[in-house]
Amino acid sequence: MYRSHVLVCGGTGCTSSNSQKIIETMEAEIKAKGLENEVQVIRTGCFGLCALGPIMIVYPEGCFYSEVKVEDVPEIVEEHLLKGRMVKRLLYKETVTPQKIKGLNDTDFYKKQKRVALRNCGVINPEDINEYIAYDGYQALAKCLTEYTPEQVIQIVKDSGLRGRGGGGFPTGLKWSFTAANKADQKYVVCNADEGDPGAFMDRSVLEGDPHCIIEAMTICGYATGATEGYIYVRAEYPIAVARLQIAINQAKDLGLLGKNIFDSGFDFDLHVKLGAGAFVCGEETALMTSIEGNRGEPRPRPPYPAVKGLFGKPTTENNVETFANIPTIIREGAEYFASMGTEKSKGTKVFALGGKIKNTGLVEIPMGTTLREIIEEIGGGIPNGKKFKAAQTGGPSGGCIPAHLMDTPIDYDNLTAIGCMMGSGGLIVMDEDNCMVDIAKFFLDFTVDESCGKCTPCRIGTKRLREMLDKITDGKATLEDLDKLEELCNYIKENSLCGLGQTAPNPVLATLKFFRDEYIAHVVDKKCPAGVCKKLLSYTIAEDKCKGCTACARKCPVGAISGAIKQPHTIDTTKCIKCGVCVDTCKFDAVIKK
């Protein structure tokens, strides 16, 4: 028995800011003090509050240390673990009240969260199957194999109301029943862990923090649909997730929880890990299967749907990581428990990756129906530097944006679709007044132009033409007529592309056009970028009354565009200026004005 447990986050965010070194130093220090039999250091998955990483929690006190540095470790060991005095300066400020230390679940960031998919992330050691089992792991699988028929399992999933968390929102139980209905000598289960949506990292966090729940869920799916083999297709950019998955699979095999005759039920199930190689389109289910087969990851026309003819031409069920992560809880706690959370048509919880201009960047899991205002202002802690909220982007390159006046919309699949947005995989990027919406639309188009696989013409050529039209707008060369053409082309691409990538590629343009048309018009008619982002529409001038003639800007200007005598107001030659902004950064008197 250990008297203290130190949990250190080993997610990608915290590992990037050196948590591995912190663990090693901690273990060495503990040994040096002779505490190795009293204190255990555990590397967990993601805690969610990535903005404050690296993160460390010491139990039994539940002390939450944030932004820990390697140099802080000896002090924590000496003061806290040896002498029993918390290191106050490192405690997460939100948890400190004059009287006592608040529990983590009472802080604004965690209070409104409800953890189902992330329930074990940051709680257990993902590389130890016994910890997963201690937290009711593999109970759901045992229940399915020993108590339920496959039909009953599918009925429970149907009753829970679970819908696909990868973006589409298709009812999961229904999907399973389609595959189950098809007879074949071989069927497959595929887990889509090709998380390509930039700014979304919930799937990675689940794989890193709780890999066994995916293995358990896929085995349950195999039992329900009659499949005996599964593939997890995971991005090669996630090395930690890949390593932990492999460890978890080996451990499950050793304990007979994977492989032949699981729980003496006569049911066999085997799992393989396949690495992606960086192609956004592979997140589309048919493209992903083509890629597993060893080809260029181009999508296939549907029908036939994967439930009929999927991987290697056999009936296949494909679900996203977060969808699978909900399955063990649904089986264990019952469909009613899951369906008690959320809204009428969107049950359960959803994980969002908060990023961009928001204080508490990180991962949050909230019941469906929570409003955007609650997420941003309460959980996310608002916008930093006193800036004004402009929009939240959801659904990545396939999604749209939610403007300020719709902040009170309860977030679920249908409400987001109704306002021309989409749930997507759950990336939620907050933008403030300094972000230009036309520039953001261009950013996403850049992405889709790059990632279009080229198989169908509307997507391959259409997205490129869209991108050129946006260039024309940000260069100040467009007319109002171009805005109509832009919209027309968007709709054409949406209607005529082969797969989801092309069908949704125009969404960022359409959504910004709908909610921020005035910003487009400012670019087109006034030739101005209100947010001051689009370089070609900017001009720099020096305010005569503020300029002291210190010559600092003239010396820094890389093209010699600034002239003026010492102690006399300077001027910028706009024909020479390359709009690099060095003068703005250099001036100590705020005399350079960017417009």
């Binding site: 990608t12 965010g13 990037s16 800011s17 990535c50 903005a51 990483g53 998380e195 390509g196 949506d197 930039p198 700014g199 979304a200 990292f201 990675r204 090669a236 950019e237 996630y238 396949k274 690495l275 992606g276 190689a277 960086g278 192609a279 956004f280 890629s291 597993i292 087969e293 060893g294 080809n295 260029r296 990851g297 290697f312 990756a353 990023g355 961009g356 201009k357 960047t361 990180g362 982007q393 990545g396 990336g427 990027i429 933008m431 972000n435 953001i440 950013f443 996403f444 790059d450 990632e451 696989c453 950064d585």
Partner: protein, 164 residues
């Protein structure tokens, strides 16, 4: 995605060749393992020169055009060698809205190369990469395995100085 093809002559060592031979022998006959073989080959050589693509095609018994097709489809496969210090700037959305483009521009200016290029002395290469999932640290850049988060364009010079 447009890929730059290397003009630098390819060199092979017996150890490297033996490693690749072993993987090909293990996977030959199963076309679905093609990407795996190519990933291992890239680990061994750092990129996929034509000579290696040809060897994989022969060993896996698939046409060269298939190997080339896969190599050019996926962003991970490189047809040109990387620099001794491979610099990537994340251009995921979270990083982009926090100014990642400025960091890329600054690196470009400091190194005198564009994204997806390598300096003439083979020391630095620069890429704009897809989201690496460290969005909490945005904007992020990596140099080999070192990660630098929450940086500004002004930090670039100091960071590069560590890799002289």
């Amino acid at each position: 995605m447009l890929k730059k093809i290397s003009k630098i002559p390819f060199t092979d060592s017996p150890e490297q060749a033996a490693k690749l031979d072993a993987v090909i022998a293990e996977c030959t006959g199963d076309v679905s393992m093609l990407m795996h073989v190519m990933q291992v080959a890239q680990d061994i050589y750092g990129y996929l020169p034509f000579e290696i693509q040809q060897k994989i095609a022969d060993g896996m018994n698939v046409p060269l055009e298939k190997v080339y097709g896969v190599a050019t489809f996926y962003a991970q496969f490189a047809l040109a060698p990387k620099g001794k210090y491979a610099i990537s700037v994340c251009l995921g959305t979270a990083c982009y809205v926090k100014g990642a483009q400025e960091i890329l521009d600054e690196l470009s200016a400091q190194l005198g190369i564009e994204a997806e290029e390598c300096t003439a002395d083979g020391k630095y290469s620069l890429t704009a990469c897809r989201c690496i999932g460290a969005c909490g640290l945005a904007p992020v850049m990596t140099i080999n395995d070192d990660v630098y988060g929450k940086i500004t364009a002004a930090d670039v010079k100091g960071i590069l100085a560590k890799y002289e």
